[in-house]
């Protein structure tokens, strides 16, 4: 497990439904690493002190996005891009390789699923959600999203889940419930939050995952993990007072 005397890691994050910060919280909790959560404001305004485009934050993450971390145990080292943060935390604090690869082969299998998550599941689901919410396309142009756009992203997201589903089925046939090998790794942690994010779609169809039973079964397992439940509770924004 994690070494003792670790100073709390600063995590720059956001409430749900932001799907990338939870990856970091889940791993920190699993590794028992203390952290401070600095809540950022998602705004394009570079003069906003707490905003993600303010120079005080772009000096940490030049891309102006959450999550990012600062590690006081390593000269306040900054890491951004959720996939890179998972690797960094695993490499430094998961010395027993509980959630990370033990050999270069295993690491590359974990990496390829993380890379597919960050380049496929995340951006394509993000586009689908953007074009499905009223404040996305509709508000700006006051018109209906063209079918071509909606179909493109809906079908691409479905294609990605069908690839993921087929892989999980193959794993199952080998007796594993997880993405790589026979244990939960940072690849599973990377895929889980975006899988849950689909429920935030205003046009969410509760039967969406019926087509992907292995994804459903895998996600149920992920959601039952206490670190995941705690992360959801911690990152759920307090209900607005009226």
């Amino acid at each position: 497990m994690a070494p003792t005397n670790i100073k709390p890691i600063t995590v720059y994050g956001h409430y749900l439904p932001f799907p990338n910060p939870p990856k970091v919280f889940i791993l920190l909790k699993l590794l028992g690493i203390p952290y401070n959560h600095v809540m950022k404001v998602a705004s394009d305004d570079p003069t906003l002190e707490d905003g993600i485009k303010h120079p005080n934050f772009t000096s940490i993450n030049p891309n102006g996005r959450v999550p990012a971390i600062a590690d006081p145990n390593n000269n306040n080292f900054h890491v951004w891009e959720s996939g890179a943060i998972l690797q960094y935390l695993a490499e430094i604090y998961d010395t027993d390789h509980k959630f990370s690869g033990k050999t270069v082969e295993e690491r590359s299998m974990i990496n390829q699923w993380i890379a597919f998550q960050i380049s496929g599941q995340a951006p394509m689901s993000g586009q689908l959600i953007w074009f499905s919410v009223p404040q996305g396309h509709l508000l700006k142009y006051g018109e209906k999203t063209p079918d071509h756009v909606l179909l493109r992203f809906r079908n691409e997201v479905r294609r990605i889940y069908s690839v993921f589903n087929a892989h999980l089925e193959q794993q199952k046939a080998k007796g594993s419930d997880w993405i790589v090998g026979d244990r939960m790794t940072i690849a599973d942690i990377a895929w889980a939050p975006w899988t849950r994010t689909m429920i935030y779609m205003p046009t969410y169809d509760p039967t969406f995952y019926d087509e992907f039973p292995a994804v459903k079964a895998w996600f149920a397992k992920m959601e039952a993990i206490p670190a995941v439940q705690e992360t959801i509770a911690e990152l759920t924004a307090p209900a607005p007072k009226n």
Binding site: M109, N111, Q112, A115, P123, P146, V163
Partner: protein, 257 residues
């Protein structure tokens, strides 16, 4: 490395494909090239999806990976392949940095920034500008602007590198997989409607990359780019797009089933 590695690269003349052949050239590694015919959807054929379940190029097979030399290792996703090649076949850190160093982590961040940001967004720009077959103004604007935003981030990064570090590269003091992965896309920037004249440091960095030994060889795999000679000539570019448009729209139809 005691034995000569036995590598097979499945690739095409595309942004994600050329990254890997460039990295292999810079590392002077021998490999076998298997061109995948995207226009006939070979990437979705069972023989290939057994290597890359995602049905995309690039993919790499290491027929004799280091700790399990008898079990061929198939890797998908260009970012994962680049990290694998660095960890396994770059002991002298020609295109990488020692594990655990600041530069090592910076490299991973910029590789993932390309994988998660620049690639998907520039890819959508391509789609709506060149292939969609419909004039959807909002989508064009959205993706061209997001791609420009991403190049402006790179522009700032290069400024920090040049001014504070005296370096012309994305990370540290030499060329690395961070440069290579971004270069794969930057050579096609104009195709996506982004004029690199807007990003002077990026433009000069792209030229610098072109001069690195091995880059020219690597980018011409599996064959030289047909786009290169006509970049900037809108009429010829339109003609060129027709070729790709056909299989891309067919691919979308297949996925709709």
């Amino acid at each position: 490395m005691s034995n000569t590695p036995e590598l097979t690269l499945y690739t095409g003349q595309t942004p994600n494909g050329i990254k890997i052949s460039i990295a292999l050239s810079l590392l002077s590694l021998p490999y076998k090239t298997v061109p995948i015919s995207l226009s006939t959807h070979e990437q979705k054929s069972p023989w290939f999806t057994s290597i890359n379940p995602n049905g995309r190029i690039p993919a790499l097979t290491d027929h004799s990976p280091p700790s399990s030399p008898k079990t061929p290792l198939h890797i998908m996703e260009s970012g994962a392949i680049l990290l694998y090649l660095s960890e396994t076949y770059d002991p002298n850190h020609k295109i990488s940095f020692p594990k655990g160093s600041t530069e090592y982590w910076e490299t991973i961040q910029w590789v993932f920034w390309q994988n998660a940001g620049l690639g998907p967004m520039q890819g959508q720009s391509n789609h709506f500008i060149r292939y969609a077959g419909e004039d959807i103004k909002y989508a064009k604007e959205r993706y061209v602007n997001e791609t420009r935003r991403l190049y402006s981030i790179l522009e700032k990064r290069l400024e920090v590198q040049e001014v504070e570090g005296g370096s012309g590269w994305v990370v540290g003091d030499h060329v690395s997989i961070a440069d290579i992965t971004i270069f794969g896309w930057a050579v096609f920037a104009e195709w996506a409607g982004v004029d690199l004249k807007e990003f002077e440091r990026v433009r000069r960095w792209r030229e610098r990359m072109e001069g690195v030994e091995g880059v020219e060889e690597g980018r011409n795999v599996p064959e030289p780019s047909g786009l290169r000679a006509i970049m900037g000539d809108e009429r010829k570019m339109e003609e060129f797009a027709e070729g790709s448009k056909k299989w891309i729209l067919e691919g979308m139809k297949r996925d709709a089933k």
